[in-house]
Symmetry: D3
Subunit: 340 residues, 6 copies
């Protein structure tokens, strides 16, 4: 099995049942997830020897986060145990014109307080073929930024391919702060994943002619941006999912990629949303899978888009789709007929 590693934070998501608003909730669904953890679960699902690197408290809430990953086949041996808190975010699911809403309570979590020395990156990246992380971990704390950088350096040295999902979080830092940290990480990155906002905020790029709230996307604008990004940072692939938010219930979903030679815009899916959290992560995992499998750029992209379109129909952060199920959709069967 091919060894892959992701690094980041896994949080406890406290999610109101059904479409309940926070002030109505008498209970919360307890879901463990987080960007890179979500990617790890998808990769384990697709059959890779997947390792998640993080730090979690020794108590039972920390253990529950570990267990959620183990349940779905992620190797948790590299998770350091210690610290006080599992980061939390509260979420409620929107519908129609009412947006989904997230309230973060993640400060001072175990991984945000962790130190570079907590991790034996040489051991972690031994025989590792791919390392994925995101712009969230560097944003949670100075320590998070240092750990991310040390991990990327070690992964590169070990010969892994590196992907990053820029994922700008405005509650965590300012664009200025983000850019001061993120720009220098780019030298290690092979595959840069980011939508139009993230590219602008994390790296200082300004997508032109895009009104991100309009629900309309001018795809051709991406070709220009992607090429410019590749020139400046030397990425091997620049990729972005493209979401058209018709409403909180219905989205258009596609993606674009540039591999230095050609620019592709994928098939677009109209998705009826069950839970869109983790949609981008399932896209990243689909892309990594496609590229590790040796698919062509276009095929890898179509696999990633189909995988993540399906994620929108699944409750929770993790994408519970098999390779076969994704390939069926890539193959064109979106009829939704009962599989008996």
């Amino acid at each position: 099995m091919i060894k892959v590693v992701t690094l980041g934070e896994i949080m406890l998501r406290l999610s109101t049942p059904g479409f309940e608003r926070f002030v109505q909730a008498e209970s919360f669904d307890a879901i463990y997830g987080g960007g890179e953890a979500n990617v790890a679960v998808s990769l384990a699902n697709y059959g890779f020897d997947t390792h998640f690197v993080s730090k979690l408290p020794k108590h039972e809430i920390g253990q529950s986060a570990v267990n959620a990953l183990r349940r779905y086949g992620v190797n948790t041996d590299y998770i350091v145990r210690g610290g006080d808190r599992v980061g939390i975010y509260y979420s409620e699911t929107g519908a129609s014109a009412r947006p989904s809403k997230v309230i973060y309570d993640r400060a001072k979590s175990a991984i945000a307080e962790a130190k570079v020395e907590d991790f034996d990156f040489e051991e972690i990246f031994k025989d590792c073929k791919w390392f994925h992380t995101s712009g969230i971990t560097p944003a949670i704390s100075k320590n998070g930024a240092e750990i991310t950088k040390a991990a990327m350096k070690a992964a590169k040295a070990a010969g892994a391919t590196l992907s990053i999902d820029l994922n700008y979080r405005k509650k965590l830092w300012t664009p200025k702060q983000a850019q001061s940290v993120m720009r220098e990480l780019m030298e290690y990155v092979d595959v840069c994943i980011g939508n139009e906002e993230d590219a602008s905020l994390c790296l200082g790029f300004t997508p032109k002619g895009l009104d991100v709230n309009s629900g309309k996307l001018d795809v051709s604008a991406y070709e220009t941006i992607f090429k410019e990004m590749m020139e400046e940072f030397g990425f091997k692939y620049v990729v972005s999912s493209l979401r058209e938010s018709y409403s909180a219930s219905d989205n258009g979903w596609s993606a674009a990629i540039y591999d230095g030679k050609e620019f592709y815009h994928s098939r677009k899916y109209d998705v009826r949303i069950v839970d869109r959290v983790g949609g981008g992560d399932s896209f990243a995992a689909g892309l990594i899978t496609g590229l590790l499998d040796g698919k062509s750029t276009k095929e890898a992209l179509e696999f990633a888009v189909a995988a993540s379109a399906l994620k929108h129909t699944i409750k929770g952060d993790f994408n519970m789709m098999s390779r076969e199920e994704v390939e069926t959709l890539v193959g064109g069967d979106a009829s939704g007929r009962v599989q008996r």
Copy 2:
């Protein structure tokens, strides 16, 4: 804080879970609500010093209705305690071509059996700026009609603005009975809210050219009706929400208003329905808020329509939206993007 008062019945709604039919239900969600109570909760949400006037039994079911209102910030000091029953209605939620269904069991409730003397309307309407009620309370019993009339008289005397939601209920009375009671209440009314059916049944108006089951609405017909209504009754505003029932799952939702000078038809929202009960009440509350805030007629209407479009996405009778959230939708962002 501006003092506002609503008067009416708050019932126990026994609602089947999800899309279950009555005969399938092994449990009922226990939701307390009712037209004027729903208006009160919205007004409290928007920051008014809101009082709900009614009568409820001293037992724990009565207390639970009080508690539901207190939870969301409504002042319940004017609720008289006594009588035997909390009125009940059973509801199941439809989907697609299957309509939602309501079975009433509200006869002999505490408020239907209450007497005018139970209430100290002078105290209640002291410093009150707005009084809202509906055509339901006068319909539940002779006592209900007397209480409503006494309240409207006292509110008027106290200098409040009066609004009424006509809300014809065919299970409670005949058009003839309704008109004999309702027409004489109109002299107190400043703002008359009613859809095309209600105007006809409660007040004897016949909307022309409207086929209420067709799902098609000829908006221009409303202008004529509204002007005629204003002429006859001396309203300051005539308003109606306009529902286009494509199915039990999807509706078009807009509204029209006439303020003696101009007739406006609002923006129309296509709503994916979570729970449409209380949609009209959230509209009334939005309108009252807009007018109390000193918005223009058109702006007040747009606030009301946006507020009530959002209500359709919320489980239960009460509209759990803040001013800010409503204004965001009025401002044009219906994209439903996650609010982090």
Copy 3:
């Protein structure tokens, strides 16, 4: 009351809650259902003296299946008690591009192991006006095939009208096996119900010009097939529901019938799906009801299509709609307005 009989298997359906995937489920909804049992419940709902014939273990799981039928008015006196297992199927509900999925665990169930001698068909079909079965029971085992044949023979002898829903199940047998059993049963059949795939697989017909996965149906092709089928097998009616799978969430739903004189294609409904399992069974029950009621071929078909369009909005296998509710939809009111 008119006596009607259906024969088949009632299983325990273990259904994940909401849209959960199997691997996420911590509980299963326990739903008892199965093709002919579903038809029986609909017929009981419509007021017929409905009997379900099967075999179920004496233990409490068997008893629960009996109770589910009794609850909805089906007479269970002809259900033989014995054997070891209640057949099981696991189901998860799809959404958007993710199909619903079914895993069967039905081998060696009590009815699959039952013998012809377990049943007193003379008593069962005494005064019976209609007998309905399907192509599933003959497929579950050799015994199932023998029981079906014996029942059809006895029903015919007793003067009942016979209908069959072909319902090919590829997990249970091959087309070759199916045809060897099913073709000879056709001599007893008056009303043959089957979609394009079933006709091909069970009876060796090949629908031309139909791509069943494309979501596009060429209705005219059915006219040809239906006429050919009638010629060869001497059916009085050939009928099929016509599903257009836009996605797992939304389907087009209509039907076609040929009665030896005319070919009709019904009105088409666009359905937002709550639970599509049992859709075909509710269609069969609607058709039987229409024909037993003495409706015209076209009216019977429209009743059946409306009934089964409504089924798609109801959780579980059974169609919980009354005659009145179906007739309202047939009458053209698909607005979904609240019924108070």
Copy 4:
């Protein structure tokens, strides 16, 4: 099968989940039950051809009550459909020193408003071997009293054995009212079931030396009372369950009977309570079964006590125990070892 009939009211019990108090409940379990209906379900469970006589509205809540009975094998053909309301009672389950609590909302229910002419008692009691009713139905309304009397007369005329459970309800009538109605019904009664309070309040007897709140029972006092009751009213059996309320969680449970010859006090069970509602009804049904089976007085009593001790472990009003399970406990195995 032996035909037995019970007559009374079946209500909707709205029961808070777990140990929640009314003011905490966000949902209610929907349980259909009522004294005589509970007896009917037990009798159906034990294999009798059991009929329940009542009146229920035509709407779906009335239908749900019918369905609850059918589910567990009770014949509902004698239930008249009409009227407006299904009677309701709210219940919360106590624990330790906190008592369970019931709030009634049963006035004006369909059966309370029914008329003697609604029922064809000649048809109902044809071939009936046993008729059971209680002191509740005569208490709910003047009509209820008339219907009960007419039924008892007709049952007696048809040759049935008659049992009554006195069941005094202080919310429904005063002792004076009760005695004016109940005393004259006694002439039809063969088996009189009542605890010490009921005998006093319904029939004017005063149990001596019993402090019903003390949790201590002087069994010998019952022998005197039972003999006096038999003398005055000519009963064939006088019976009472004997509850020792240690707390809301734990009770002692036994019973006493006098058959004109001997007085027996049964074995006493210490029961850990899951749901004690319907305990008395399960006792009545056990006794009827024992006597109909031809058991000795003592054996019949032990069967009844064991059956009702087991009821206390079952959620809901209905006793879901088979004959075999009751006999096992009568036989002395109270070890609670897992039955595999």
Copy 5:
């Protein structure tokens, strides 16, 4: 109405359903509670004009805490809004030999970060008759200690009676830290509530001859301690609940008080536990009520013990018992008979 004030933290308790362990939980019940908030709800329940003072974030989780208090009649006007976090604690319910378990995540909550200047204590304590707080708020942070001291000073100046529940929390501070803060607060305290451990840890007293894990209590030891405490600190009353932990399921529950004249040991209740969290708070509230009502020391103690014995049967932190219900138990009826 008599005005009473409590000050402290209200947290979000994330409680596993039933007896589930943390690592099993797929959801958490969302319960808002905390020592002084629990006292406030009880006092509001008993009819006092009760105000809770704290600081909570403006977001919806903060609002939900406010709403929980309002629902049960607590005035929340003195709650300052601001800060980032609602403190959290996770809880699982033990049984038999398995103890209940609590994991705190309360650092940096809004109240822990609040400042004395956030509160207008002059306004808050105007006309206040009683002020209650605990040893938890001073423990959560330096700010918490300052706020508590300022509040006590202001309450004393306003003429209120002051009570404190010592409530030592070893996760929050060391005995040394506790004593340095708590000892100097004692000068304001009229009523000191604390069990044997708290007195030792917070104030430096050492209860002699008590083995707190043995489940055996030597009540006479308390008389000595209470007298010594009163001498040193000048309390008017020294009180403690006395828990005998037979197991996580069953406890003995009584209390002792010394009022400067006499030492009383209350009646002891054996309680079957539903949820013991908040037991001590319900005791404090019962005592305050008894003393404010003008009961004798002994009567006040018995009211407090009965109230808190009943709390153990109620899910959640809040004690949902009315005065009447508590008085019934004080009056000696612990039979748990159904209240109809």
Copy 6:
């Protein structure tokens, strides 16, 4: 980490919620468990490198069983994937005099149909220190018996210590069949675990002076039996848990062991039962842990008894207790005081 292996069947347990009887259940909790799988989870919990050997279908129900094990840290690499069925058992939880009940539907499961050749026992037992299995797997099928024998042989050859839990299942085989298979397996066994019934039925021993339904146990009888068993079969340890079934709610729980030198009877716990399924398995795991840890015979037994007493308080088959929690109880703290 020390490598341990268990072999057996993991089933899907369909468990009714709360105390519901089968015929009341509208849903089932989905719990994966089985004797040896339960032992494996405990051993993983205690920190061993634990492997479970079995065969499970490739479909999602099989995968869910794998995931349940992975979640709690069991290595599932030796689970062969294939076959059709996951074995099922239905369970309902008794209370008081009503016993818990189990209905099996496990025939033809993947492991029952598996073959010796499916497993590479040499690889499986490489470096394995302990192998545990039970008398259930040999009972499920001839294949199961062969697989068990092959595994025991290989484990012995690899130098592992072998334990077996006799666990006679009367639904699976007769005593005669059991003895013909089981007796010859004994030569490999080091530690024989079995209660009085199992010893008799599986191995032909007759415990004297024990009435297993009486709830009374004569411990001294065990000493004799254990010694005789050791003599005949050459075991190193003979062990049995000793259950006293006071009722389905309360049990006495202790154990006895003989190590060739001394006979010990452990401390006895009175347990209030939440879920007793898996109690014996948690005992076996506790014993294995104690012996692997190098505890004395007596200490190992006390650890095992405490661990399994605690299991009775945990829902589901798996024992979710840590070493520390077990040791606390062994240390004598059974007070159940809240752990904060």
